[in-house]
Amino acid sequence: MKIQFQSLQDFMVMDGHGMYVWLAVLVSLWVLVSLVLRPLSQHRKITASIERQLQGEKIGYLSSNRRGESDAPNS
Amino acid sequence: MTSGYHSGFIAHFSRDVLLHYRRRSDLARPLVFFIITSTLVPLGVVPEPATLATLAPGIIWIIALLATLLSIENLFAEDWQDGTLEQMLISPNLLVMPILGKVAAHWLMVGLPLTLISPLIAMMLYLPAEGLLPMLLSLALGTAALSLVGAVGAALTLPLQQGGMLLALLVMPLYTPILIFGSATVQSAIDGLVWSGTLATLTAVLALAIALCPLAIIGALRLSSEY
């Protein structure tokens, strides 16, 4: 099994078919990478929003406690 | 009380036929659509007999398909709104029969008339004579399958506002085999080949649809009644 192309130049051009092959490769890779990145960023956003919610609840709890009112722990 | 296996079928079949018949003017709509849209073909393409004859089997089938699609949207809508659907769903009887009755009624009042009017369209589009009988048979069987599969789409989009376009999008991919086998039956006959095999395949697709579509429809209707 040897490498089919003599040089990087050859590899890019692929006897004239390079444009098609690399177009297909690049678009496919772009889609595949997006498929991985999207759920990861969603995950991060959801975690962040849950964190903010928890912060908000803690502050609400503390501030209502300070006033000496007993609050229901969760709404 | 005669409650045989088929009584649910006959009861809902006759009820729906009567309901359709009471609005006779509505029955003309798919037929008029069929004729008017077929007229668009020579206007949009070319009025030349040779070209139209090549296109005829497919075009006639496609327009019949669209006419069926347009008419199936409200199959369950009235029953859903006036509570008949709920009654059907909670009744202890087999639900498959009423559903098959409704769809059969739809075929009788839409699909069959489309089939019977197709020779007129065939003439306008210069369909060769050999194609006429296959056209009638394939449309008769095919529109029944189209009604069944279309009913699945109607049931799934029942609670939605403006479900019409969505219904079309959902159902069109499912229609492709029916269209392929239907128009190929006609085309084979025109080409001088044996067409009974293709017609048999279409019949098999119809049989499968009769067996399976009611299950999907029941699931979708239960869902819609809860919604």
Binding site: M1, M14, A24, V27, L32, H43, E51 | L169, L223
Partner: protein
């Protein structure tokens, strides 16, 4: 309850919390395996595999086109089976997996169609040809889009899940019929065409990297399915105590 112990593993499988924790352990390994397979397969196929006698170097697109097609089709079945499990056992996680499978499958179908079209130009001179495979792929894309459209049309989460599950099942039954009918339709009109994959007649040196890519794509599919599902699990279970603990733990560890 009869045979309770036998079914606990199955119902534990349906617990979103169990799923989340188990996949947290698997993810690193799965990512490495996926990356390794895909990179190996792609470099092998693009640079080392011998070029095709008839098609020249453009045939190398096969190393993306075929795996994407395989997974696009398999993915529809994953979606439908997940939907069926959700309908029958009313399992939340099953619906979550079904929802994840839909955009994933649609994207893979798009890759299959795009690479197929690009491959078609040097091979047949046009970007589009009504080849049986490509036409079936296009119809598959419409089936996926239909499921997505139906899901988005419903406002209620539960109703959206149930209806798209039913539609997926209807599509599943249809797919073999569609493929067979398109295949048959194609033979009517073009008796002999260059097939996109002459798999049996492929030289082993060309076939081996293809196999690697197919396995790699399966691995990729599992990876992305899990990623989407985890995000959705967090979203749906955000009010529950285990999620809150998870988030606070993560924050404290930072």
């Amino acid at each position: 309850m009869t045979s309770n112990r036998k079914w606990t593993w199955f119902h534990r499988l349906g617990s979103p919390r169990w799923f989340y924790h188990k996949t947290s352990q698997w993810l690193p390994w799965l990512s490495i395996v996926t990356g390794a397979l895909l990179i190996t397969g792609l470099v092998w196929g693009l640079a080392y595999a011998p070029e095709d006698a008839r098609q020249g170097n453009s045939f190398r697109i096969i190393y993306l086109h075929v795996p994407a097609s395989v997974l696009a089709l398999a993915g529809y079945y994953v979606m439908a089976i997940a939907g069926a499990v959700g309908l029958i056992w009313k399992m939340k996680l099953a619906y979550i997996v079904m929802r994840a499978a839909a955009p994933l499958g649609a994207a893979l179908t798009f890759i299959a169609l795009f690479t197929g079209a690009v491959w078609g130009k040097p091979t047949w001179g046009t970007y589009w040809v009504w080849d049986a495979r490509i036409t079936s792929m296009l119809i598959l894309l419409f089936l996926y889009l239909g499921v997505l459209a139906l899901r988005n049309a419903y406002n209620s989460y539960e109703a959206a899940n149930k209806s798209s599950a039913i539609l997926s099942l209807v599509g599943t039954v249809n797919i073999p019929i569609i493929y067979k009918s398109v295949d048959w339709w194609q033979t009517l009109h073009q008796p002999a065409t260059i097939k996109f994959t002459g798999a049996p007649s492929m030289h082993p040196d060309m076939f081996a990297p293809l196999l690697v890519m197919i396995v790699g794509f399966y691995s990729f599919y599992a990876l992305v399915l899990i990623l989407y599902s985890r995000a959705e699990v967090l979203q749906r279970e955000q009010k529950s105590s285990w999620v809150r603990e998870l988030v606070t733990d993560k924050r404290d560890r930072r």
